[in-house]
Amino acid sequence: MGLRYLLGRLAVMIPVFIVVVTVVFFMIRFAPGGPFDSEKQVPPDILKNLNAKYHLDESLAKQYVRYWGDLSRFDLGPSFKYANRTVNEIIAESLPVSAELGLISLVWALLIGVTAGGLAALKPNSLYDYIPMSFSILGICLPTFVIGPLLVLVFAVWGGWLPVGGWNTWQDRLLPSLTLGFAYAAYISRLTRGGLMEIRSQDFIRTARAKGLSEGKVIVKHALRGGLLPVVSYLGPAMAGIISGALVTEQIFNIPGLGRFFIQSAVNRDYTVVMGTSLLYFSLIFVANFCVDIVYVFLDPRVRYE
């Protein structure tokens, strides 16, 4: 495999990282309002004390250099809003929660998505196709803030079988992961179906059939590998998104994940948390895409990186 290509990809990350740090750093500071603006105005003298404590009284250039200094020691700084916590601590506490939710959702998404898509591709234009694909349209159209409360209403409020919110027991994991997983499953099933349909009409599949293989074997052994390529490339960014937090799902189910910080920090102008979560998100996307590139080679013998 093209080692040079992979090293090249890694090398590209460095300038992109610098750009991301710079853009986010200045953008959040140029946004109107600051971290200590509140409905009750902070008297100017006190604001002076606050700015001094967090080095916001220094010039932007100096703050920027200071940030790089801290970053080189993997210190993302203190949160302005959650006064007793550092950004490192916030990420350390909430990323595992988001990752757990994300991974379970991803398992749901793949199980449901690939099965439904495969079924549809196997018997196109039959009920096996129409029913799963109708559900998938539903999954794409209905946002999580509709599906989530709906599931809660049925299974928690009416049924009383599962809790409304929280993150303590395994029962707490079911509804949020299904909610989140369903949205992804919808896309995955369509991608699977599309990928499989396309590959089914190709020469090597015809060859496989000509050898007398059963249709099931043809699909599973030959078609699926190539047919899943679109799903795999979709999974890269999806995985980064799903792991670094799903704001809406986390809010609906009161889950202590990272997604809430990611959004709320921007609203709060909590500069350090905005920086920390954005950089983490960027790194996750990069790593996920990188992994996808590698998986591609294994799945599709035609792909070579030179």
Partner: protein
């Protein structure tokens, strides 16, 4: 993949789900026989549990359980009652207080709570290095402001001295009639010096935390829950009935309501606005609605455009139907605001100057005509600014419609994200802006001082000497009856000049399980678990 490997993958996936679940299988605390456990929604994750870093109601509910102030409040009418201090004396001029601390008050590690602890805490909040946002709450203490701004370097000049371990002498800058109720505010709570010194910013973590309240911090998981247990060292712990309390930071109102319905929580912070009509009709006794020390109003920028003219401000004021606004828009049992200060604040009832309905509309039309815009003709375009939220949007739209219908003027409405909106108010780049104010303490001063010329919360450009003087006079007077005269004077000027359009007096609407007793409604919505108990539910 073969069919077999499919099965294996499926089984593995299920095992993973199972494993992750079991790994963190910790069922919520079940009430053991006779053990009182309460679950409360705090409404948001607190910024901190350091009383000197806190800034809002989300910290208040938590902090007042794990600390005891020098002077506490009665659970029903909020009058000052003994806290750590068992008695106190005020000097004739109202500038000196001597507090006698109870000798059996203890920190959660068993150490006694001393006068020195309070002196230390107050010096700490005022220290510029602490950079406390609410340090100004301590400004009534002598030399406090100088210390906080760095002008006074000698901290011993602060008007708080420990005469001995259990006697605290406090000297104030001015007689501050509401000083005793200030002591119940978290910014003046004591903190445990050794813990702060040893652990730095991490002293508020459960493992390092030392408090002096009826409850002790057991766990604190960010955005998940905070658990408190009854403190064995608290001097009055025989009177404390709830053994354990869990606070959730649920900020989604819909989730909160469903958690209440499924009995995951016993007390909510709010009710989703669209569900209010449903709960108002509730017959089971879980719906609670009580007056709250706050005013919902609109700011008028008196430095810009047509709103410079007081006749126009008056016309706008007389052309809004407050009764309709609370009945059809806010819909939460609120009372129309007929003055700026909520009635009953610190025993003061403001003059009811504003009309609740459109009874004075003719006057409004005449004022508008006098100002040069008969029937609204040629009125320059102005805009109502609100921070992006559904309820404020509805309110702004309703007022927009009322002005159009009643005065014939066209106004636009514009929304901005919270911090942008705050910035627009601060820089006076708005015409009319939605606003709200919740009193920090139960005294009209917390409302009226905002519109003094140099106050940072003014943000309307309103500057009036007579107003400033009336408020200053009320701050220097000790006698409540005499103060009321000054308040009323200030209020009249404010509502005559109208840099504000008060709309309604805030109301707290929430749900509370019927077995929760002692959670009394009070005007500041302050609740100490010490006063609360659970009644055994039949069956």
């Amino acid at each position: 993949m073969t069919r077999k490997s499919y099965l294996i993958v499926g089984a593995l996936a299920l095992a993973l789900v199972d494993l992750l679940g079991l790994y963190s299988l910790r069922t919520p605390a079940k009430a053991a026989a006779g053990k009182q456990v309460i679950r409360i929604n705090n409404g948001a994750e607190p910024k901190t549990l350091d009383p000197h870093g806190a800034t809002g109601v989300y910290e208040d509910l938590l902090l007042r359980q794990i600390y005891e102030p020098l002077v506490a409040r009665d659970a029903k009418d909020l009058h000052p009652i003994p806290g750590v201090a068992e008695s106190w004396k005020m000097s004739k001029d109202g500038k000196e207080y001597t507090f006698k601390l109870r000798t059996n008050a203890k920190w959660s590690n068993g150490e006694p709570v001393t006068a020195e602890d309070f002196v230390y805490a107050w010096k700490r909040i005022l220290d510029p290095k602490t950079a406390s946002e609410y340090a100004s709450m301590a400004y009534p203490l002598k030399n406090a402001k100088g210390i906080n701004t760095g002008e006074i370097k000698d901290f011993t000049k602060l008007g708080a001295k420990a005469v001995d371990a259990h006697t605290l002498k406090v000297t104030l800058e001015n007689p501050t009639p509401y000083f005793l109720s200030l002591l119940d505010h978290y910014s003046l709570y004591p903190v445990y010096k050794k813990s702060v010194d040893t652990h730095g910013d991490r002293w508020t973590r459960p493992e390092n935390f030392v408090g002096n309240g009826a409850y002790n911090l057991k766990s604190w998981e960010i955005n998940k829950s905070i658990v408190m247990v009854k403190s064995p060292t608290y001097w009055d712990n025989a009177a404390v009935k709830i053994d354990e309390a869990t606070f959730f930071p649920v900020d989604n109102l819909d989730t909160e309501e469903k958690m209440f319905r499924t009995k995951q929580i016993d007390v909510t912070r709010e009710i989703p606005p669209e569900k209010l009509p449903f709960w108002q009709k509730d017959k089971t006794g879980v719906f609670v609605s009580s007056d709250y020390l706050g005013t919902y109003y609109f700011r008028l920028n008196v430095t810009k455009g047509p709103l410079k003219d007081v006749r126009i401000r008056k016309a706008l004021n007389l052309a809004i139907d407050r009764e309709k606004l609370v009945k059809y828009v806010s819909r939460g049992n609120q009372n129309p605001a007929l003055a700026y200060t909520p009635p009953g604040t610190g025993g003061y009832n403001p003059p009811k100057v504003l009309p609740g309905d459109l009874s004075r509309l003719a006057e409004a039309k005449k004022l508008l005509a006098d100002a040069g815009f008969p029937a609204g003709k040629g009125f320059p375009k102005i805009e109502i600014l609100y921070n992006t939220q559904e309820i404020h949007k509805k309110m702004s739209e309703a007022i927009q419609a009322m002005w159009k219908e009643n005065l014939g003027i066209e106004v636009g409405i514009i929304n901005q994200e919270w911090k942008v909106y705050l910035n627009s108010m601060k820089t006076l780049s708005y015409d009319v802006a939605r606003a709200g104010w919740i009193g920090d303490y139960n005294d009209p001063n917390t409302f009226l001082e905002n519109f003094m010329t140099t106050n940072g919360n003014n943000m309307t450009g309103f500057a009036n000497k007579a107003y400033d003087n009336a408020v200053i006079a009320s701050q220097k007077e000790v006698n409540l009856e005499k103060r009321k005269v000054h308040f009323a004077e200030a209020e009249k000027i404010l509502l005559d000049e109208l840099p504000v359009l008060p709309v309604y007096i805030w109301r707290r609407n929430f749900l509370k399980a019927t077995n929760v007793q002692g959670w009394y409604p009070n005007i500041q919505d302050l609740h100490t678990l010490k006063d609360v108990w659970l009644e055994a539910t039949p069956g």
